[in-house]
Amino acid sequence: MTDTLAEHADSHLHKGEPLIEMDGVGKSYGAIRALRGINLRVNAGEVTCVLGDNGAGKSTLIKIMSGLHPHNEGSLRVDGAEVSFSSPREALGHGIATVYQDLAVVSLMEVWRNFFLGSELTAGSYPLAGLKVKQMREIADTELRKMGIVVKDINQPIGTLSGGQRQCVAIARAVYFGARVLILDEPTAALGVKQSGVVLKYVAAARDAGLGVVFITHNPHHAYMVGDHFVILKLGETALDKNRQQVSLDELTTQMAGGDELAELSHELGRQ
């Protein structure tokens, strides 16, 4: 783990320096307005947690950062320069790697091919350059083992893995290729307790290696364990934007649940 992140991390990163800045960013699908007036900074060496209800616009927000959808309003700056990514390839070129909620894997392709998809290791840079197949297999295998996932055969199609195992491949890939910014959309949703732990360690390690991390989760415990900065979205707008110093776990939980419903729930279920 240490190796990977240290190796791949851009060595010019300085903790606290802004990597991505959003100013009044908004986004509409057709005429459904999913996001509006978002201001957000992703700083090097910090974890920014984005929280919020279902349909609040979290995924939309990170899709803008990762170049999957262009934004309609406001400005997006990366390393101080204004950009509007026309493809995820460009974002990757800036060292921004993403784990998407609706997994970006190709079911029929082998696990290792999925791992390196779009960032293949080749003997040269021209498109028909030979792939370093053996090396790629080994790296994919090693990175998955680090997460506690041992696939029976690294050549099996990724479609035959369990939901959580597939998620782990996506995470391991993003960690491996994220040189400056790592964006994770509900990475731990499908994961077991053990694997979730590993992911949280990754997030911490990435932060420590100086990367900027955007972390989306519905689990306030997970968020509070690693986050430096918390943003809560509600119906496409910012509802809370605080630093770790300004907010406690309980407050965060309450805010996420939109009131003190959770406590009420425990009470109502009458079991605790």
Partner: protein
């Protein structure tokens, strides 16, 4: 900088090493190969005149003419798209070359390059329109198919006044182009056409590109799941347009072969061949929905088609039932392919 570490767990048992026979069985083209061998033996038994080296090479020749374009079509289908204009573009290429040179009286090499440029442009347009409009390639290339079919006929009639191109054998450059595209040599009593060798070359190149290059990885990805591929940074548009252009390049190549072997071309030719290419690809194990397949399989598919359609004639079966035999043989080939593939995944998983 590193405070936290994650350790890799000890390698557990259960990691699989496959034996040679299983590794062989696991190759995706094995099903098509078994089907081809069964049909081959079948015809060896039933058709006496099939049992000669000459016949075998005639079958190979016929397969190569199908197979060269089919390789491109197969790649394109792995990449998730169809090209229905692949059949007529062969004739467009040949007609363009021959009529241009005849009309303007220039060297055939000039015409060949102009024709190549034209074909690449058509391929590019196919791909560009598919990607830009989001209309399925089936429809876009159906449009191109109709347009090319009409243009082949219309232009030929306009230029030559008949429905076939003029004889090119007297125009400068004929001999050298013939050497490149349609020469043959004798080994004993057997005639071997260079198109067969070209076919093997293209198959080898495509196999290598698919398995061992970055572009190959992209082709599988754009066919398997274009959205996911885009999301992880695969240049989907470039890859797909490239595939369409590959098909039209190979169509051009076969068009050159046809022209320099037969000297004249019928303006209405090539119609229907687009499906033969698709059949070859699918019989060879390419998934119609994209994302799976391989070039050797497509080559075997072309061979199965060529062998079956000529084998029925070698066997001297009632020509009225020709299509029925063909249909049954193709279904059998696909079934055998499927069966072998099932067997192999069982064994692979089981080992």
């Amino acid at each position: 900088m590193t405070q936290t570490t994650v350790e890799a767990p000890a390698p557990p048992a259960g990691r699989v090493r496959l034996g040679l026979s299983n590794r062989l069985l696991a190759r995706p083209e094995i099903g098509a190969l078994v089907a081809a061998i069964i049909i081959f033996i079948f015809f060896l038994i039933l058709a006496p005149s099939f049992r000669s080296a000459e016949s075998f090479f005639t079958v190979l020749y016929q397969s190569s003419v199908i197979g060269i374009v089919a390789v491109g079509v197969g790649l394109l289908m792995i990449g998730g798209e169809f090209d229905l204009s692949a059949g007529v573009i062969v004739y467009t290429a040949g007609l363009a070359n021959s009529m241009f040179c005849w009309y303007f009286g220039v060297n055939l090499w000039v015409g060949a390059f102009i024709s190549l440029a034209l074909c690449l442009l058509i391929g590019f347009l196919n791909g560009y329109l598919v990607m830009r409009t989001g209309i399925p390639s089936f429809l876009i290339t159906l449009g191109t198919f109709f347009v090319l079919q009409g243009a082949n006929l219309g232009v030929t009639k306009l230029v030559t006044g008949t429905v076939s191109s003029t004889d090119v054998s007297q125009i400068a450059g004929y001999d050298s182009l013939g050497k490149v595209f349609s020469s043959s040599f004798k080994v004993g009593s057997v005639t071997i056409w260079t198109s067969v060798i070209w076919w093997f070359l293209f198959v080898a190149l495509a196999t290598w590109a698919l398995q061992r290059t970055r572009v190959g990885n992209w082709i599988f990805a754009v066919g398997g799941n274009a959205d996911s591929a885009r999301a992880v940074g695969v240049p989907v548009m470039r890859t797909k347009i490239g595939l369409f252009m590959t098909v039209s390049f190979l169509g051009w190549f076969v068009g050159m072969h046809q022209l320099y072997r037969f000297n004249t071309l019928q303006a209405g030719g090539g119609v229907g061949n687009e499906f033969i290419y698709i059949i070859a690809a699918v019989v060879g194990g390419t998934l119609l929905t994209g994302g799976y397949g391989n070039a050797i399989g497509v080559a075997i598919g072309a061979f199965i088609f060529g062998m079956t359609s000529l084998g029925i004639i070698y066997a001297g079966w009632d020509p009225n039932w020709f299509k029925a035999f063909l249909g049954v043989m193709l279904l059998l080939a696909v079934l055998v392919n499927l069966y072998v593939k099932r067997m192999s995944t069982m064994r692979r998983a089981g080992s």
